[in-house]
């Protein structure tokens, strides 16, 4: 659904693999056995290994970074719940639904130059989710980004 004044964000697709989970464990240093030890994970209520929540969140962040570039790095915000695990073999789709545009609540005030900067800023809000191939929502929440409009 389009919302006036809020840019559309292209969705992003990724496939979860055990090899990818291993690579993420190496990159993040998170070797929790639920992610990397298949024998251990089989004996848990999950019945097998699951992807790191932060790996799935990385797909949502990448989707927003691809859409907003530097503005995302300097003024992005994510708030999510991890609702269900992503498993090896899952085909994930990350999506952002435009919600509204607003002025920033408050940025550090100051001299004239900073006030003009504030006037050029807008906050775009989105509902975000990451679903698997069955349409199950694994992660859901909101994303916001402060965008500085060029003159």
């Amino acid at each position: 659904m389009s919302v006036e004044g809020v840019p559309e964000v292209p969705p992003l697709s990724r496939r979860v693999t055990q090899e990818g989970i291993w690579r993420y464990a190496e990159a993040s240093g998170d070797y929790n056995p639920i992610h990397v030890d298949e024998e251990y994970a089989r004996a848990t209520p999950f019945g097998g290994t699951i992807a790191h929540g932060m790996l799935v969140l990385a797909y949502l962040s990448e989707m927003m970074a691809a859409a907003f570039g530097h503005d995302w790095l300097a003024g992005g915000r994510l708030k999510v719940r991890f609702r269900a695990p992503a498993r090896p073999g899952d085909a994930l789709t990350a999506r952002a639904e435009p919600r509204r545009a607003r002025l920033p609540a408050c940025r550090t005030g100051g001299p004239d130059g900073q006030a003009r900067q504030v006037n050029r800023e807008r906050v775009f809000e989105y509902g975000i989710e990451c679903c698997n191939q069955k349409g199950e929502t694994l992660v859901s929440g909101t994303a916001e980004v402060i965008v500085v409009r060029s003159r």
Binding site: R23, E62, V80, F82
Partner: protein, 145 residues
């Protein structure tokens, strides 16, 4: 695996400060992270050895790693929620300092819900570049994994 002599996250009271940690994300670390998350976007600028800036969620992931090096998660603990706010781009190679504390702790049906607040900033900077809150649900009374 987390050493068993670390404090169990479920036992930490509200207000508990997790000792500060220092780390650095160099060009190789960023390349490794981007390959792991299959991020081929050009969103992070161009530096001499690759991206100019660290993917902001990599900074948050490293802050969580720093927490997990000082706190034990019991078997069955779940990462239930995450908030993260990117306030300033972090240049590749910057020396970073992270701080964390238990912001909330509650008990519900035999589980402990802990909210860990963290912030990461460049060494020497008074203001953080990335702040976040991780919600962890852990069974009460289990031995650390």
């Amino acid at each position: 695996m987390t050493p068993a002599n670390l404090p169990n996250i479920a036992d930490l009271p509200r207000g508990h400060e997790i000792p500060a940690a220092h780390f650095r994300l160099g060009a190789d670390d960023v390349r490794c992270y981007l390959e792991a998350v299959e991020d081929h976007s050009n969103a992070y600028g161009q530096g001499p050895e690759g991206p100019a800036y660290v993917p902001p969620l990599a900074v948050a992931a490293l802050a969580l790693r720093a927490i997990l090096e000082q706190v034990a998660l019991p078997a069955g603990a779940l990462h239930a929620g995450q908030e993260v706010e990117f306030r300033r781009p972090v240049p590749v190679g910057a020396s970073l300092r992270s701080r964390a504390r238990v912001a909330q702790r509650s008990e519900m049906r035999g589980a402990v819900v802990s909210v860990i607040e963290f912030e990461v900033g460049e060494d020497g900077s008074a203001t953080p570049a990335v702040v976040g809150r991780a919600t962890v649900v852990a069974p009460r009374g289990e031995a650390p994994s």
